[in-house]
Structure formats: structure tokens, C-alpha cells
Symmetry: C2
Amino acid sequence: MSEFALIERIRARARTDKSVLLGIGDDAAVIQPAPGLALVATTDSLVLDRHFRSDWPAADIGHLAAAVNFSDLAAMAARPRWALLALTLPDADQAWLDGFLEGFLSLCHQFDTCLVGGNLSSGPLNIGVQLLGEVEPGRMTRRGRASPGDWLAVTGTLGDAAAALALGEKASVGLRQRLHRPTPRVAAGQALAEQASAMIDVSDGLLADLVHLLAPGQGAELKLADLPCSDVLEQAMPDLDTRWPLQLTGGNDYELLLTLAPSRLTEAEAACADLGLPITVFGRVNSGGAIECRQADGSLLEMPRGGWDHFDPR
Amino acid sequence: MSEFALIERIRARARTDKSVLLGIGDDAAVIQPAPGLALVATTDSLVLDRHFRSDWPAADIGHLAAAVNFSDLAAMAARPRWALLALTLPDADQAWLDGFLEGFLSLCHQFDTCLVGGNLSSGPLNIGVQLLGEVEPGRMTRRGRASPGDWLAVTGTLGDAAAALALGEKASVGLRQRLHRPTPRVAAGQALAEQASAMIDVSDGLLADLVHLLAPGQGAELKLADLPCSDVLEQAMPDLDTRWPLQLTGGNDYELLLTLAPSRLTEAEAACADLGLPITVFGRVNSGGAIECRQADGSLLEMPRGGWDHFDPR
């Protein structure tokens, strides 16, 4: 297929709405933002053998490419609206593109997001997504805005995706689903905008993202026994000495990590209950400058090295 | 350097303005669009050995990555405002990044555009840029809106970049400058918004982009002797049989190709004269469905195959 036949294939499947003044097919897209709202913009790329393997189904890769970007907007309490897709493909493989689009556009449509433009190049597989959303200017949830004494909480459960990676072929379908098809917490992000003092999504690993969430000089105390854990993970890794380090440092969960003034916890729990999504308090912000992980007996867990760095050759 | 040290290096150099509510350093950027304007969004990627060679200076690569995106906004008559940068780098090469940023940010600052966010990954070199701009909803210049009888015109001159590619080491500095450091016609795009009936930037080649500019069923007659040619190109390629095909099919000029109702030509020429940029009429739109290229003696040039297709293995 030619470049332009591929673009036409994408255009035919992309939905549009009245905010899209000009979608796929010109030099740029033209959209009409809602009056009074601020625009929220993120971009995240997926690279072969870093973020996915070539034997993954194309639809899973499409889902993941969209999900990591929706997760960034969720962490800002933004409502996603428009996407652009920059694909660098080794060849014009129509079947692969169709599978990719199925996964990518399903998630876009689930969140009422229109694909309005993009770019196609040939070269080593690289998937760049730009996602635009909207938020009331006063409602965005920023990093570094917690106060000492705030609760530390997370949506859903932690560690499934990292366990799927660690166990490889031995991982259960439930664990692998969390790695290949993560659920960005878009509704929860917006629902928690009022209650959260700071928010981030857990992409690099809990401890690494916590460091980015806290303001300079702040610290936190974590109760490891309170870390939320899925049934499938508990079954796959009953040993806490294996599981806790993985829950603390494994990335790709795409849950929301947030801080809450104690007075806002009940409201936050109610907001999440409305969405059928658990929210779990597992620690507290302090001004101590360090992150301490307490085991069930009160002793400190020796700190595992935290998080994913793209240029750290571990 | 770590991923986060590199990000800090980029953040330290990025300018900001009061439209940027939240720039580099959170899950997403938050910006405040001007009331009443439409948002224009484009994304274009550069891939090693497709769009540039590894022996190019990093500053030239940075300039080009920005320029191709500014050119897309120019073709919509939009005012550029905010950029995001998704870099996939094989290693954390600080000197390369500094050079790249010098070229990239110089062009951004020249056009009052703030770098507000992005993404860093490791992998085969891939440079993804997203550029956002603004336009009055009624003023955007779209493809496919010409009428039969409209003049066909282009800013600047055509063929320098293609000649630099064709001549390689033998190309003059002037020609190579046009390939490595193209000038996006941002001011001209906005100045021509009222006069142009349709507009596109010449990235793939004049004939290929003309096909995209015209509405289905439309055609055009071109007078090859009127194609605007730079002095350096005339010097390097005096033979018209070599030069015309290259001016017709070579890409990477990033001039604006536009159509004009005959009554608007004088205004368009005045608008470009104010900017010190020539605009040249070299043909006319018709309803014949074909593109005919007439030589000085009135005979038709046999049509060279047009344009660049990323998935066409020529």
C-alpha cells in the first residue's frame, strides 16, 4: 500500500465530532476548544523492545500506545478530546495497521476522543502519540503540591504488570492483561480533582513516581502491608519478600498515585466507589526528605533501587 | 546522563510565556488558548537516513525538525504557539542534544513558540515534533478550495533542496543551506490568508503537493519557463532538461504553493513584498483533471513521476 492509501485507511476509521473543524487530510488539524477551559497536551512514544515486543498482537500495541497517553491526562484530571498519531513503520503492513488501529481507536472512542491528524514515515518501528484534553484552569492536579500529613493513596492495585514481565511465559492471563492492556484511570482522575492535593500516574514504578510527586524536601512513610495487591498477584507471588520490591519498583501499572488532606479522604473514597474502583491509603507524606518503607513488624525494608530510566543501562 | 538530567537540560533552555500555565515537568502541559481562536495541531517526525543523515550537524537536524512542523502551520495560515518534542535517542549524548536544541529552540523562539513538554525514550533515533498554533476559525487556508481560473503561485524559489540532494558533495553551500536549514514561510502564510483560495507547503515535491492541493476533478496548466529558480540553482543546473524535472518533483523546499482568484493577485504580491519574499505565478487551475507542464515552445513536457511516498521503494 502507498503512504496515502494507508492514511486514507486511517481516516476512514477515525470518528469526528463538531469540535473538529478540520480532521485528517490537510497540513494540520483545526479544532475548536471549549471557551474558558485550559488545554492539556501530552506526548508519549512506544519503542520496539523497550515498551513492547514484536510478538505482541498489534491491537495490544495500539491499546498500549493510547493508554499511556490517556493515563497522563488522567493524572492532570483532564478530559481527553483529540489525538494525533505519528507512526514510523518498517513497511506498509496493512494487517498490522488494521490491528493496531483496532486497539488504538477502541480506547480513543471509549473516551470520546477524536483522531484528528498525524504522520506516517518509514523506518524502525516507533509509535508517537499526542493527546490533547481540556480542564478547568483551577482544577488541574499538579505534582509537588502535597502538604506534610497528607495521606498517600493509590487507585486499583500495584504490581501486576511488573509480575507479568518478571514471570514471562509463566504469567497468568490476568497478569499479562494488565501489562498489555492497562486501563487508564481517566474517570477517576477527573473525579479526584477536588480531593487530591497532588497526583501522578504510576508508569516508572511506585517509588520513582513518588519521588516526582513530592515537593523538594518532602518525604513519606509507607506501610507495605497496606499496598493494594490483586488476587492474581497474591496467588502468583505469595512471598512478600519477592512481591513488595516488585510492587515498589515495577512500572507499567498506570494507576493514579495521589496525596490527600486527611479531611478529604471520605469524599475521595466515595468518588471512587461511584466508579467501582478501589482507592487505598498506604502511607503519609512528611517533611523528612526520605521515603521509608515499613514492614508489618515495623522494621524498615532496605530500599530497593527505584524506577525506570531510559538511559540507565541496567 | 540520566533521562531526568536530560529533561532538566531541555527545561532549563525552554522559554515560557503567560499562556503556559504548566510547562515541562508534569504529566502533561497545560496551556491557555486565546478566546475565540481555533487551535491548529500538526505532528511530523524525522527518521535517520530518510530525512537526514547521521553526519549532519545536530543543530541542522534540530532546525529541520522544527521547520517542517512550522511549515505545516504556515500552510494553514496559523500562528504557531506551543511545541512538544518526542525524542527517541540511541544514547544519552549530551553534546548531540545541546546541538539539536540549539537548532530546534532557535527556530521556536524566532516564531514566539514555547516548548511546553515532550517525551524521551531510548531506541533508534526518531524525532517527533508536535506543534500547536492558533487561527481565526474563518481564516484557515484549506486544500481543495481553488476555483477553475485561479492562478497557481508559489513563494520563494523551487528546486534548491532537491539539487543539494542530487549533487551531494558537489552542491554549493547555498544549495545545501536550503536542504539543511529550510525557512518555513510562517509570516507569508498568515499574510496570504485573505488572498489564497487554497494553500499547501511543498514538502513532497511540487507536482505531488499540487495533486493534494487541487479538488477532485480539477487540473492545472503550468508554464515551466515561469517556475521561480534561485541564482544558485541556475548556476548549478543551467540545463532546463535537468532542472525542470527536479523543480517539479524534488521535495524539501518548504515554500508555500497556493491558488488565487485573479482579482486577489495584486494584494497577494503586495503582502509578500512587505515581507521581502517573492511570489511567482506559474500556472492556472482548470477543470480538466490533468496537470500539464508546457515548455517555452508550447509543447508538453512528458510528465515525470511525482513526489515522495514513504512506502514506495524507489
